[in-house]
């Protein structure tokens, strides 16, 4: 598998298989993850290779998945659970917040909760209701969690390995719109990526574009378009939202003096707010222009006939960037 270019979702499968092979305590669980290989096929082939005792289909209940996951994790296993879609993860919030995020804290380190919750995330695939939500901010104010979102096959592989190996609970959100967007070579070398750094995907000097997940695509395209108009945009993929590597962002803003934050979730109290807040606290005197947020609107993502009008677009990012460039 690893000598051929693979898509983001295949990189996830590859990381799961790697860690299942190398760590007996890893199990995968969720609805339809077994013989069916997951509704997105992220677990395709794993049941055949590792057997139904490692790849567990669960009863149809997200509370159950979350509770069993915490129960197993606290007894020495490393479960990797799947929520079938973003919109089905809300019943898991109680166990994530009250137990996963607190097991270590509550017992002063006696019990821990090394688990991963994989959540196919975000809109744009013409799917039914509750299959398109950008709900990362439900977790970003919760102490004790890590929240991760890859945006390329290689980062998907390295960050998922890191998430599984991390001694604490990690919410790993997968931008489903770019599951099969493009392929790249991802060596199956078991190399994890750090869970506390932002990735600078493009260097620039005029403006800093900060984003994560599926919007990395549009943001890079916007940067390209801006370049063609003589504007040099730096593009940062946050990748790990919590804990936030603000230093990388601050460094970039210090250089460019302008910051546009792009995300798919609704604007108000989306995670972009935290980044803008940090800029206002720590980079105020570097700023040449007000911070801009290009985000989903403060409404539910519509069913698919209208959904693309909800999402941030290249045009919206370019427009916001130009507004920022108007200041100097």
């Amino acid at each position: 598998m690893s000598d051929q270019p693979i898509a983001l979702i295949e990189a996830i499968t590859q990381a799961l298989a790697y860690e299942l092979r190398n760590d007996d305590s890893v199990v995968v669980l969720g609805e339809d993850v077994g013989v069916n290989g997951g509704v997105f096929r992220a677990t395709a082939g794993l049941s055949a290779t590792f057997g139904p005792e490692r790849i567990l289909d669960t009863p149809l209940d997200e509370t159950t998945i979350a509770g069993l996951t915490v129960g197993m994790a606290s007894q020495g296993m490393k479960p990797v659970a799947e929520a079938q879609f973003d919109g089905f993860m809300y019943p898991m919030v109680d166990f994530i917040v009250c137990h996963a995020a607190r097991m270590r804290y509550r017992t002063r380190g006696r019990l821990t909760c090394p688990m991963v919750l994989r959540v196919p995330w975000g809109g744009g695939i013409r799917a039914p209701e509750h299959h398109s939500e950008a709900n990362e901010s439900i977790f970003t104010n919760v102490p004790g969690l890590r929240v991760v979102m890859p945006s390329s096959p290689a980062r998907a592989y390295g960050l998922l390995l890191a998430a599984i190996r991390d001694p604490d609970p990690v919410i790993y959100m997968e931008p489903k719109r770019i599951y099969r967007q493009y392929k790249e070579l991802v060596p199956d070398d078991g190399e994890a990526l750090p869970l506390d750094v932002c990735f600078v995907l493009r260097d620039g000097s005029d403006i800093t574009l900060v984003t994560w997940g599926a919007q990395v695509k549009e943001t890079l395209e916007a940067a390209e378009k801006l370049a063609s108009e003589g504007i040099s945009a730096e593009v940062i993929d946050v990748a790990t939202l919590k804990p936030l590597d603000f230093d990388t962002i601050a460094e970039s803003v210090a250089k460019t003096g302008r910051c546009v934050i792009v995300h798919e979730a609704a604007k108000t109290a989306g995670f972009g707010a935290e980044i803008a807040a940090r800029v206002a606290e720590e980079c105020l005197f570097d700023l040449l222009a007000p911070v801009e947020r290009v985000t989903g609107y403060d409404t539910h993502i519509p069913l698919f006939r209208l959904e693309m009008k909800y999402l941030p677009s290249v045009d919206k990012i370019v427009a916001a960037s130009k507004r920022a460039m108007a200041h100097s």
Binding site: E31, D32, G34, V35, N36, G37, V39, D57, P59, L60, D61, T63, T64, G87, F88, P91, R126, A127, P128, E129, H130, H131, K267, T268, Y297, D298, T299, H300, P302, L303, F304, R305, L306, E307, K309, Y310, D315, K316
Partner: protein, 362 residues
């Protein structure tokens, strides 16, 4: 050691797969002639289902959940409710919904990615389609509680699948249904599969009906391919509910003859044999035989009726295809009764952007 409690779960079948009666007709069906319009409804549903699948295959519909094989259960449930009752469907009970006034174009709009599919002209108080499994059961319990508190003789009927009966919301509905003795009928439509997960992997319980015992509800297991049994089971449950005798869990035994949805490929996880076998028990064969034997139905009638159904469905499909997309502001207009200033500002921004984009394209 003494006995604290004792329970029996009955299995109800009236019309056997071979089309003969298992016993005398039950109270729900005093005259076999009354089955004919229901049989016709079942045929309509199957026509619709077939055409909807075809529509999806040609790219004119989003993901669609077929109801192939469930027609007797769905139509029987719909036929057992009064307009004042409230129905909380999961996502494939078109047969029940059509009987309540939902239009085929509503179904198509919904799966076609347009929220207006849920704005039924009739029935105004029924719950919309919504995706989170079995939450419908608990909302229906809330509706039933509102009926009880206001002394209304209405019943709330909710559906979920065999998979759905594992969901904690289903249990919460059972629990509160019993605690408040609610006029609530929980219909567990056991079609053997929850996407790829077979019934036996969902629970160690011998029947899904017995889950009602957890809340002290009336429990019954029914042949869901047998329209007569479905009607009788629903009669018992709704009468109990209306008399203030509390809620029921009815398990309808049927089979999902199609893939889970058009996005699924069932060959990945289940054998052909099982499906072939299920076809011998599907709901039309026996009812057609029974009605034909009674001279209440014949081949010619069926041909003519299916033709007619085809025409009606085509009209609905056209109505769906011809409905223009909602304007961009529709994503804001139904969010709040009183739109906050921030949302209003975003609404205007979205309209302006949309207009600009259209002009740029033109």
């Amino acid at each position: 050691m003494s006995l604290a409690a004792e329970f029996k779960i009955e299995y109800l079948q009236c019309l056997k797969p071979d089309g003969t009666l298992a016993g005398p007709l039950p109270p729900a069906v005093d005259d076999p002639a009354k089955l004919v319009p229901l049989f016709k409804r079942m045929l309509f549903v199957r026509t619709f289902d077939t055409k909807a699948i075809a529509l999806q295959r040609t790219g004119k519909l989003g993901t669609y959940a077929a109801c192939l094989g469930h027609e007797a259960t769905h139509v029987g449930i719909g036929a057992s409710m009064t307009p004042d009752d409230v129905f909380a469907p999961s996502y494939r009970e078109y047969g029940a919904q059509f009987m309540r006034g939902v239009k085929p174009r509503d179904v198509l709009m919904y799966w076609g990615g347009d929220e207006r599919g849920n704005d039924f002209e009739v029935p105004r108080n029924d719950y919309p389609w919504c995706v989170p499994i079995s939450t419908q059961c608990l909302m229906a319990a809330g509706a039933a509680l509102s009926f009880k508190l206001r002394n209304q003789k209405r019943v709330a009927v909710a559906c979920c699948g065999d998979g759905g009966s594992s969901k904690t919301d289903f249990y919460a509905a059972v629990n509160s249904g019993g605690a408040y003795q609610l006029p609530l009928v929980l219909c567990v439509i056991n079609n053997g599969w929850a996407i790829s997960v077979p019934r036996k992997a969902q629970t160690g319980a011998e029947t899904l009906a017995q889950k009602g015992l957890a809340g002290g509800l009336h429990c019954l297991q029914v042949d869901g391919n047998d329209l007569i049994a479905v009607l009788e089971a629903m009669r018992r449950a709704t009468e109990r509910a209306r008399k203030g005798e509390g809620g029921s869990v009815i398990e309808f035994m049927t089979y999902r003859l199609h893939d889970h949805t058009t996005a699924d490929d069932a060959r990945r996880y289940r054998g052909e044999e099982e499906v072939k076998d299920a076809w011998t028990r599907e709901p039309f064969l026996r009812l057609r035989k029974y009605l034909t034997d009674l001279k209440l139905w014949d081949e010619e009638q069926e041909k003519a009726w299916i033709d007619e159904c085809g025409k009606v469905v085509d009209t609905e499909i056209n109505a769906y295809l011809e409905t223009p997309v909602q304007p961009v502001e529709a994503m804001f207009d139904y969010l709040y009764g009183d739109m906050p200033a921030d949302v209003l500002a975003q609404r205007e921004e979205a309209i302006a952007l949309d207009k600009a984009a259209k002009e740029a394209r033109a």
